[in-house]
């Protein structure tokens, strides 16, 4: 099962307000281009997730962006029996995916029912255009 939306409601959009949210802009630009981008400290190689302007390990402000493989495992999940926002049709699940590179990101599953979810399930990324102006990285069962 895939998350279904109520067509007359606006899905919450991430903010891409240019200078106001500069740190995370490359992540969302990447998603538009169907890639998961990860911020990496140029000085110590630490992966920064969520993106931020300084590396908490070495205080360097120099960083670069790498493309994640898009594979990982389910680390945890929540099933919403009541939708906390009118854009979503309950029930649906939000999953926490641990990427093979290490960082964990929140997403939804495609073609997996909430009751079939398991911690440790191998998953791979897929991109879904959920609205005219919004693409989201989602995951399907690997293989």
């Amino acid at each position: 099962m895939t998350v279904e939306y109520n067509p007359d409601q606006k899905i919450p959009h991430p903010a891409m307000w240019g200078v106001l949210y500069k740190s995370s802009t490359p992540f969302w630009e990447g998603v538009k281009n169907k890639k998961i981008m990860l911020q990496k400290c140029k000085s110590c190689g630490n992966l920064l997730n969520p993106p931020r302007p300084m590396c908490p390990k070495c205080q360097s402000q120099e960083n670069e962006w790498i493309t994640a493989k898009g594979t990982g495992k389910i680390y945890s999940w929540v099933t919403f029996n009541e939708a906390p926002h009118p854009a979503f049709k309950a029930p649906y699940a939000a999953v926490l995916v641990e990427l093979d590179e290490g960082p964990r990101i929140v997403s939804n599953m495609v073609d997996v029912k909430p009751e079939d979810l398991e911690i440790g399930m191998a998953v791979e990324v897929t991109f879904e255009d959920v609205a005219e102006d919004l693409t989201l990285p989602k995951f399907r069962k690997a293989g």
Partner: protein, 391 residues
């Protein structure tokens, strides 16, 4: 000389609580003035002698408003704090550093009937003009429908179940014991009779695995707490409650209820940092605590707090609460004899008020020998706490 610690440098001398409700019919400004007047009466203090005010940032109008009702000529110390009861720390520092004589910590929040409710609900969904950079963190959750605190906590709770085997049948004892205690507290409006573990298991699962009864409901209320020095307290109306210790704690990669990027997400490292500091300042250990006022805004945090604060070992929190015997009044470590937030609604300062009453011996659900009490707040985010003792 600067001092080593705030141990025994301050005391709570007055508390003021208005009747909680789900539709209070008054402004928060009104309730703030009202509860401070009650606290001053309780302390036997002239309102005009109050010269310090602290509060939580979103709860109630700021000191300049409250002052217009109270008529105080000048405050020499005031500030705001973000979470839990961490404003208490500012009150303690203000008094201990000699910046003010009588500092009042007020929390006036009408979370059901007041207009703030709609603002914070909207904020999560980012539908209003809110340009705080804080909003950036929701960007990685909201588009996927992970919205609202019950969902954020459920993500951690599922992992907690997976790692330790904790079950809802165990966790359910928190609301069951809370409801037993709440039934004895006239200001705890959510239970007039205790519920059973069966009632809990039948409670609606809203964000699986979080049930409705795992979450503290919203409430309208107002509380004021007056802090001064133990010396000044001696000549006042009430027996002072000494602040043995007061601390706050944070930890790397922390976010409110969503610290998912940590190596282990099923611990409360902020709470551990805070607890270690609390015990260090007070010079005592978990074994010396007779009663714990813990943050039960969401039930999974209670066993995690027991672990973080050293009341039991890692992974033993679930067994500690199961059956309720050890956490009831009369048990090994009574928890929240006022009914907690599950029984009274989300109102963090109730924990301090109940601790004060227990030490005074005036609680409606008195714990025998409750002379040393730990108060913890801010589970799932920056934590803060107090150890209070009898003078």
């Amino acid at each position: 000389m600067a001092i080593e610690s705030i141990k025994d440098k301050t005391a709570i001398v007055g508390i003021g609580v208005i009747d909680f409700s789900t539709n209070i019919g008054r402004s928060e400004w009104y309730s703030a003035c009202q509860c401070i007047k009650l606290a001053a009466d309780d302390a036997g203090l002239n309102i005009y002698d109050i010269d310090g005010m602290v509060k939580n940032i979103d709860d109630g109008p700021d000191p300049s408003y409250v002052q217009k009702g109270l008529g105080i000529d000048n405050l020499t110390y005031h500030s705001e704090s973000h979470w839990g009861t961490s404003a208490m720390m500012n009150a303690v520092q203000g008094v201990a550093s000699g910046s003010c004589n009588y500092c009042v910590y007020y929390q006036a929040a009408h979370r059901v009937s007041g207009p703030e409710k709609s603002i914070s609900d909207y904020r999560v969904a980012r539908e209003v003009k809110d340009d705080s950079l804080d909003m950036i963190r929701y960007d990685f959750f909201s588009p996927f429908g992970l919205i609202g605190q019950p969902g954020y906590v459920a993500m951690m709770y599922r992992r907690y179940m997976h790692e330790t085997g904790i079950t809802p049948e165990q966790l359910g004892w928190i609301p069951v014991v809370d409801s037993e205690n709440a039934a004895k507290n006239p200001n705890a409006i959510f239970f007039d009779k205790p519920i059973t573990i069966d009632d809990y298991m039948k409670s609606k699962v809203i964000a699986d695995p979080i049930r409705e009864l795992d979450c503290a409901p919203k409430v309208d209320g107002a509380i004021a707490i007056i802090v001064t020095t133990p010396e000044k307290a001696k000549s006042m109306k009430q027996k002072p409650v000494i602040i043995s210790s007061n601390a706050a704690g944070m930890a790397p990669e922390g976010q409110f209820h969503t610290s998912y990027t940590r190596d282990v997400i099923t611990e409360l490292p902020e709470m551990k940092n805070m607890g270690d500091e609390l015990f260090r300042i007070a010079g005592i250990g978990p074994k010396d605590i007779k009663l714990a006022m813990l943050d039960d805004t969401f039930t999974p945090y209670v066993p995690l707090q027991l672990e973080a604060l050293g009341f039991c070992g890692k992974g033993e929190g679930a067994a500690f609460i199961e059956g309720g015997e050890r956490i009831r009044v009369g048990g090994e470590l009574p928890i929240n004899p006022d009914g907690g937030l599950i029984g009274q609604g989300r109102f963090d300062t109730t924990r301090i008020v109940e601790a004060v009453r227990q030490i005074r011996g005036t609680s409606t659900n008195q714990v025998a020998g409750a002379d040393t009490i730990l108060v913890a707040s801010g589970a799932g985010g920056p934590a803060d706490g107090l150890i209070l003792r009898k003078a």
